[in-house]
């Protein structure tokens, strides 16, 4: 029988592959398994439809945020166009489903691939541009895509939007929030698994090398431009995949939500969750989605009690203000995000009562 | 004897809270003297200068122990803005001009410590020391030659009316004749302006010719000190820094005795 790995009291690693393991202890593996089990069995049974809706929004946001984190946190390329890529995925999924009548399990990955292609087109400037200039180029990408989504009417039906057919998976209709819950969270588990393992490969190490110092990476023989493009591609694939899932979940889409605000929301997820941390992206998605929902809840409550009657329009600005505040506070106080907070909490529990 | 202008008492410097670079350095600089600081790369010469001028701070370094006394007041770990106002100006290693400013604008940045006071006379003085600069006063500093740049950065420091000038390797990468010129000017500045100078140099022979006093650093410690004349005559210095063995013949690396003697230093 294999020896059980427990948390050692120091760093006893002797080979590089020991550094690269996903689970350093068997308990970690066990907890991950238990977590997944609870996620897929207990939660759908115990929660209300509204909670299921929130879970689903978190799952979709987390997939897209992981994609953006691969680009920002691991490759060091700031993108302000992630919201638009999400939109491209949503539209591509909708068009595949309505025009080509593809089933969902084909049209969602296909939408991811289309978005990856689009993302790589906007990644081309990264061959010549660095840092600030690239950020501006992706900002331009955001506006151009937004424009196309509204004005390329033969393809996107303009401001009318597209209504998607009801989803059938393997002959069975997928209905309600619970059905989607399984699809979304299986996809999320896959996305996390792929992302974590991607970072353990040659490709992931190349990304990190480019992030830390692209000149030096080039000197080490890493072809920068293909890897940057690849990073844009992977990141956009995640965004497109999430976007298509969202389109199917919502049932109908318009171009309106895919604006700069959405891009900033994703960046906020990455920063608040923690750059360069896969679990951080999930934390960020949870945080932002809950923030959104609780702000909505609060303003609704205030309106019901009659404290603010005319301020129905004031939800958006308050949300925007709190978003900005959250980003600013996290950057100033905990630049490594919630993932770092989580790590500190966990290790202080582990070391209790002898933590220093 | 003249008064002591600057005194370092047993200072330690630590970068990023972990890397200890200086381990108890003490030295004293007399007024109107040129003191040269010799030693191999990584011995801690530049760090010593930065500890005095306050430039450790932006590099996450700190004086953790000991005191630096300048005119009998403690200045360790002060901000560079404050220290420069006391008349201590460091000329950085490797000539760092403001590339997109003209020569004259570069020189005017030197007046930052006494912002708002007239500077015309000082410009004339700098041009008097470095006539080469006057010819190019309207040219961009980015296009100057190495020798001109060295003159520029020294002139820029002179604009600040320094009482204590910290020169970090002024001869770095310059042709021998230009080095000679630079050192002659350093000497003149010391004599005519009465500026006290700490000179960090690899070119030990040159440095000991113009200095009054010298310190030798190894591994973050002062290993030897003395007047320039006595250092020049010291057999160890002659061998390790001036490249002459006792007999005056070229030094042999296989000389075991020399290795032992060298070991004793470290």
């Amino acid at each position: 029988m294999r020896k059980i790995h427990l948390q050692p009291c120091g760093n006893f690693r002797e080979r590089y592959d020991q550094e690269l393991t996903v689970f350093s202890t068997d308990f970690g593996r066990l907890w991950a398994g238990i977590g997944l089990l609870i996620l897929f069995t207990l939660i759908p049974l115990l929660t209300s439809p509204y909670m299921m809706y929130i879970f689903n929004m978190i799952g979709i946001a987390a997939i897209a945020a992981i994609g953006l984190n691969i680009l920002i946190g691991f490759t060091g390329q700031i993108s302000l166009g992630h919201g638009a890529f999400f939109g491209v995925g949503a539209y591509a999924g909708a068009i595949f489903a309505t025009v080509l009548h593809l089933p969902m399990f084909l049209s969602v990955p296909a939408a991811g691939l289309v978005t990856a292609g689009v993302g790589m087109i906007f990644g081309i400037p990264s061959g010549r541009l660095k840092g600030l200039y690239l950020t501006i180029a992706t900002l331009a990408g955001q506006f151009i895509i937004e424009y196309l989504l509204i004005h390329w009417e033969t393809l996107t039906q303009g401001t009318m939007g597209i209504t998607l057919p009801p989803v059938r998976l393997m002959g069975l209709p997928v209905t309600g929030d619970t059905g989607f819950f399984y699809i979304i969270f299986i996809a999320l588990s896959g996305a996390v698994w792929i992302a974590i393992n991607l970072m353990r490969t040659r490709c992931g190490r190349a990304f990190i090398a480019i992030r830390d110092n692209d000149r030096a990476a080039e000197g080490m023989g890493i072809p920068i431009f293909p890897y940057k493009l690849l990073s844009f591609g992977i990141s956009s694939f995640y965004a497109g995949f999430a976007g298509a899932l969202w389109a199917f979940y919502m049932g109908s889409i318009t171009a309106e939500p895919f604006n700069l605000g959405l891009s900033i929301e994703y960046i906020a997820m990455v920063i608040i969750g923690g750059m360069g941390s896969i679990s951080g992206s999930i934390f960020g998605a949870v945080f932002i989605t809950l923030l959104n929902e609780s702000l909505r809840f609060m303003t609704e409550m205030l309106m019901n009690t009659g404290m603010v009657t005319q301020s129905g329009l004031n939800v958006a600005p308050l949300r925007e203000f709190v978003f900005g505040l959250a980003i600013v506070l996290f950057i100033l106080l905990e630049p490594r995000g919630l993932a770092e907070v989580w790590r500190i909490t966990r290790s202080s529990f582990r070391l209790w009562p002898f933590s220093y | 004897m003249d008064a002591i202008l600057l005194q370092l008492n047993n200072i330690s410097v630590v970068y990023s809270d972990v890397i200890q670079v200086l381990k108890g350095v003490s030295l004293a600089v007399e007024k109107n003297h040129i003191v040269s600081l010799l030693g191999s790369n990584g011995a801690g010469k530049t760090t010593t200068l930065k500890a005095v001028s306050g430039l450790l701070k932006p590099e996450n370094g700190r004086v953790t122990d000991g005191t630096i006394l300048y005119r009998d007041s403690e200045i360790q770990n002060r901000a560079p803005e404050t220290i420069t106002r006391h008349g201590i100006i460091q000329v950085l290693e490797g000539r760092q001009p403001f590339k997109y400013l003209t020569i004259e604008e570069n020189l005017r940045v030197g007046t930052a410590t006494r912002w708002g006071k007239p500077y015309r006379e000082d410009l004339e003085k700098v041009y008097h020391y470095f006539p080469a600069l006057e010819k190019r006063r309207r040219g961009l500093a980015g296009y100057c030659s190495g020798g001109e740049l060295q003159m520029l950065v020294m002139g820029r420091a002179l604009m600040a009316h320094p009482e204590l000038l910290l020169l970090d390797e002024p001869s770095l990468g310059l042709a021998p004749l230009v080095v000679l010129e630079i050192f002659r000017i350093i000497r003149r500045i010391n004599e005519e302006e009465g500026t006290t100078i700490i000179l960090v140099e690899q070119n030990a022979r040159m440095a000991l010719q113009i200095a009054h006093y010298g310190y030798v650093m190894e591994n973050g410690k002062i290993v030897m000190e003395g007047t320039a004349d006595s250092l020049r005559e010291n057999p160890d210095i002659r061998e390790f820094y001036l490249g002459m063995s006792a007999a005056g013949a070229a030094k042999s690396y296989t000389d075991v005795k020399s290795y032992r003697r060298r070991k004793r230093w470290l």
Binding site: L318 | K99, L101
Partner: protein, 292 residues
């Protein structure tokens, strides 16, 4: 032909305003290499300060104008002191993201206080500034904008070229370590550059508000349009910003007039991508003097 002239004049004046708005942005970039995504919000804050002082507090116009600019100056100082100074030495991405966060914060705040409605200033400009030439009529505000803008450009040009503080600011942009070694107060330079940038932004915001009315959505959209402008002109050239602004302004009005009004707002960004691909450092950007 008249239509063409109308567009030409309109494009020139809009473009000049873009250039004016971009000036403050370039100033921050020059001194501290920070891309300020909150620039549009700074414009808006200037416009709303003036609005509050001129219409609600009913101060005399010149006094309100100066006071609003003073407010912007102080705001710039505060922003630098509270939000940016703790980040000195941190990676650039944090600083940029911080300005993104600030933009969202300011925008939310303005919306909370003033809402999303369109406000207008009272009519106060003298009619002498109005230019009539055949069918073309240039409203007085463009004349005023031209005068104010040229004045500011001249003032800042002189300030950076000849004044000691201006030279210190340029020296910090050039080589921060060397500036520090000579006793330049780098923190003061950063604070001052934010303050001046906020002042210039506030001024352009007020002018834009006089022309289009004051609305936070419009003004922050113009803040984003600063990017194509400065990329075209080169991120670090103030004169380039004005020329870039004029080019973008002309491009916009002509596309709007001849091709399609809806394309108008995207054209700057399409041009931006093309420029970045062809001439990454803009038309007037400084070439790096690289010496080893």
């Amino acid at each position: 032909m008249d239509f063409f002239l109308q567009l030409l004049v309109g494009g020139l004046s809009v473009g000049f305003l873009y250039g004016l708005s971009a000036m403050g942005f370039v100033m921050i970039f020059k001194s501290s290499s920070i891309l300020n995504f909150a620039h549009g919000e700074l414009l808006a804050i200037g416009a709303y300060f003036f609005l509050a002082l001129a219409t609600w507090a009913k101060l005399p116009i010149p006094f309100a104008f100066l006071l609003a600019l003073g407010g912007c100056f102080v705001l710039g100082l505060l922003v630098e002191r509270i939000f940016l100074r703790p980040l000195i030495g941190e990676p650039l991405i944090f600083v940029i993201m911080l300005t993104v966060g600030l933009a969202a914060m300011f925008k939310g705040l303005i919306l909370l206080i003033w809402g999303g409605n369109l406000y207008t200033y009272p009519e106060f400009l003298p009619k002498i500034l109005e230019i009539r030439w055949g069918l073309i009529r240039i409203p007085p505000v463009y004349g005023a904008a031209l005068i104010i803008g040229a004045l500011f450009l001249l003032l800042f040009g002189l300030f950076f070229k000849f004044s000691s503080q201006g030279i210190y600011m340029r020296s910090v942009a050039d080589n921060q370590r060397a500036a520090l070694s000579l006793g330049v107060n780098v923190k003061r330079v950063f604070a001052l550059s934010w303050a001046i940038a906020a002042l210039v932004a506030g001024m352009s915001g007020i002018v834009l508000g006089i022309i289009n009315g004051v609305n936070v959505h419009n003004l922050s959209a113009i803040g984003l349009k600063v990017f194509p402008v400065v990329i075209l002109g080169g991120l670090d050239s103030i004169g380039g910003a004005i020329i870039g602004g004029i080019i973008i302004g002309l491009l916009e009005t002509f596309t709007g007039g001849y091709i399609s009004p809806s394309l108008r707002d995207v054209v700057p960004y399409i041009v931006l991508v093309l420029i970045l691909l062809i001439k990454p450092y803009g038309l007037f950007g400084l070439k790096e003097i690289e010496r080893v």
